[in-house]
């Protein structure tokens, strides 16, 4: 999947992954895709809830070797 931007939030604890994600997505255009890497297990439910409330779409998420990767498409 072609991401417009990649955010490395590995090693950061809650709330930083979401704080950084919010900032990163603000700099993108509607329809752009942000790829996020995090090691915080709590990020999964938090990113899902955040995306829902902000009108963004999580296209895909995978977990490899303790790193969770998300692809988020920016909403309107």
């Amino acid at each position: 999947m072609e991401a417009t931007k990649v955010l490395d939030a590995k090693g950061l604890a809650c709330p930083m992954p979401i704080v950084r994600t919010k900032k990163a997505i603000a700099e993108l255009q509607t329809g752009d895709i942000l790829e996020i890497h995090t090691t915080d297990q709590g990020s999964k439910s938090d990113l899902t809830a955040w995306a829902k409330s902000g009108g963004h779409e999580i296209l895909k998420d995978v977990e490899e070797d303790g790193v969770i990767k998300f692809w988020v498409k920016k909403g309107e």
Partner: protein
């Protein structure tokens, strides 16, 4: 203004003393609805932290001026962020130290009463998760019953009391939390007792708890008398201590009864559950004080922070003991059951010794309420 940390112990005191507290829970709505810090006099506002990253102005008028405010999140980080913003906006606030994870692990020892020959019975209230463990102290010896994963608390408590833990007992193979029984036995040299019918798949050696087994604690005449009461699990065993207390495990709670489905055998075990509750317990003295392994709602706490009630009162008041029709009973405990506890299969396998998750994984597995009851 100021921001302070509030420890789980301080919050537990507020629950037990019936104090007021305003909780701003900044976790997701799902997590909040599933499980929260409960108190008789607590008020709540749930706003996820990610909606407050740009500022807290939008919620300032929703926060009370006349109550202590506690900001709560899963692990602490987000609550500190929000509490800092609130304090910059001029409020005095606290955050929950260690978040819901620490809340889930806090144990509050409460004295239940006296036993023969100056012995004592303590209840360890795991207030965030609703687990109840017990320690019988007698002479120079102690026995722990249904101890939870935080084994240090029991070992240190025994040290303070100058007693040696001789026995660790589990009423059944738990599905909602990881037992500390085996670990305590390893650390202290105590015997670990488990009902054999729940232990058919365990990977370690143990002492079988059979119906009628007597276990003596100390030099005095305190007996732990095992009574086979299947239903929540096939091995579930109750204990009568000193002819005064009935430890019911997950068979009978104060306001509800045990669910029979956590090992996947609801249909098979419902008859056992009914027999244990309506026949075996019925033959016991009404004066026995029932001490369960769980509570589900904070209303089940007595004024002194203990959880317990006379068996006679429960036969009058507990709905689960007053369903005359067997078919209705069967439906009640097999249909419309609440969701299962978080990671209950993995927890059972851990308690059998089949898997050995690290401590961080164990904490994650135990997140959420215990959900062992059916009302």
């Amino acid at each position: 203004m100021t921001m302070k940390a509030m420890t789980p112990g301080q919050v537990a005191k507020k629950v037990i003393n019936n104090e007021k507290l305003f909780i701003l829970d900044v976790r997701n709505q799902d997590a909040f609805e599933d499980w929260k810090v409960e108190g008789h006099q607590f008020d709540y506002l749930n706003i996820p932290y990610f909606e407050l990253i740009d500022g807290v102005e939008s919620i300032l008028d929703k926060l009370p001026k006349d109550k202590d405010i506690l900001v709560v999140c899963a692990k602490e980080g987000s609550s500190v962020m929000v509490a800092e913003m609130l304090s910059e906006a001029g409020l005095d606030v606290s955050y929950l130290e260690g978040g819901m994870k620490a809340w889930s692990e806090h144990l509050e020892p409460v004295r239940v009463g006296e036993l023969n020959g100056g012995g004592e019975l303590y209840q360890f209230v795991r207030i965030g998760k609703g687990c109840l463990s017990y320690m019988v102290v007698s002479g120079e010896e102690a026995a722990v019953i249904d101890p939870v994963r935080m084994t240090d608390v029991f070992v240190n408590f025994a040290k303070e009391k100058n007693v040696t833990i001789k026995h660790a007992l589990d009423t059944h193979l738990h599905a909602d939390h990881i037992s500390g029984g085996r670990l305590i036995a390893q650390e202290t040299g105590a015997s670990y007792w488990l009902p054999p019918k729940d232990a058919t798949e365990v990977t370690f050696s143990y002492n079988p708890l059979k119906d009628g087994q007597l276990i003596q604690v100390g030099a005095s005449t305190i007996d732990i008398n095992a009574l086979y009461t299947p239903g929540h699990t096939i091995g579930s065993t109750s204990f009568i201590i000193d002819d005064s207390y009935l430890l019911t495990g997950d068979i009978l709670f104060i306001d509800s009864i045990g669910r029979p489905d956590l090992a996947g055998k609801a249909e098979d075990w419902v008859g056992d559950l009914r027999n244990s509750l309506y026949s075996k317990y019925k033959q016991l003295s009404d004066e026995l004080v029932v001490l369960p392994a769980h509570f589900m709602i904070v209303d089940e706490l007595n004024e002194d922070g203990t959880v317990g009630k006379k068996l006679g009162d429960l036969f009058k008041e507990n709905h689960g003991l007053n369903v005359d029709d067997e078919t209705t009973f069967r439906q009640m405990v097999t249909e419309n059951l609440p969701p299962q506890p978080n990671a209950y299969q993995e927890i059972r396998e851990t308690n059998m010794g089949k898997i050995e998750p690290d401590s961080e994984k164990q904490r994650e597995m135990e997140i959420g309420p215990n959900r062992c009851a059916v009302r």
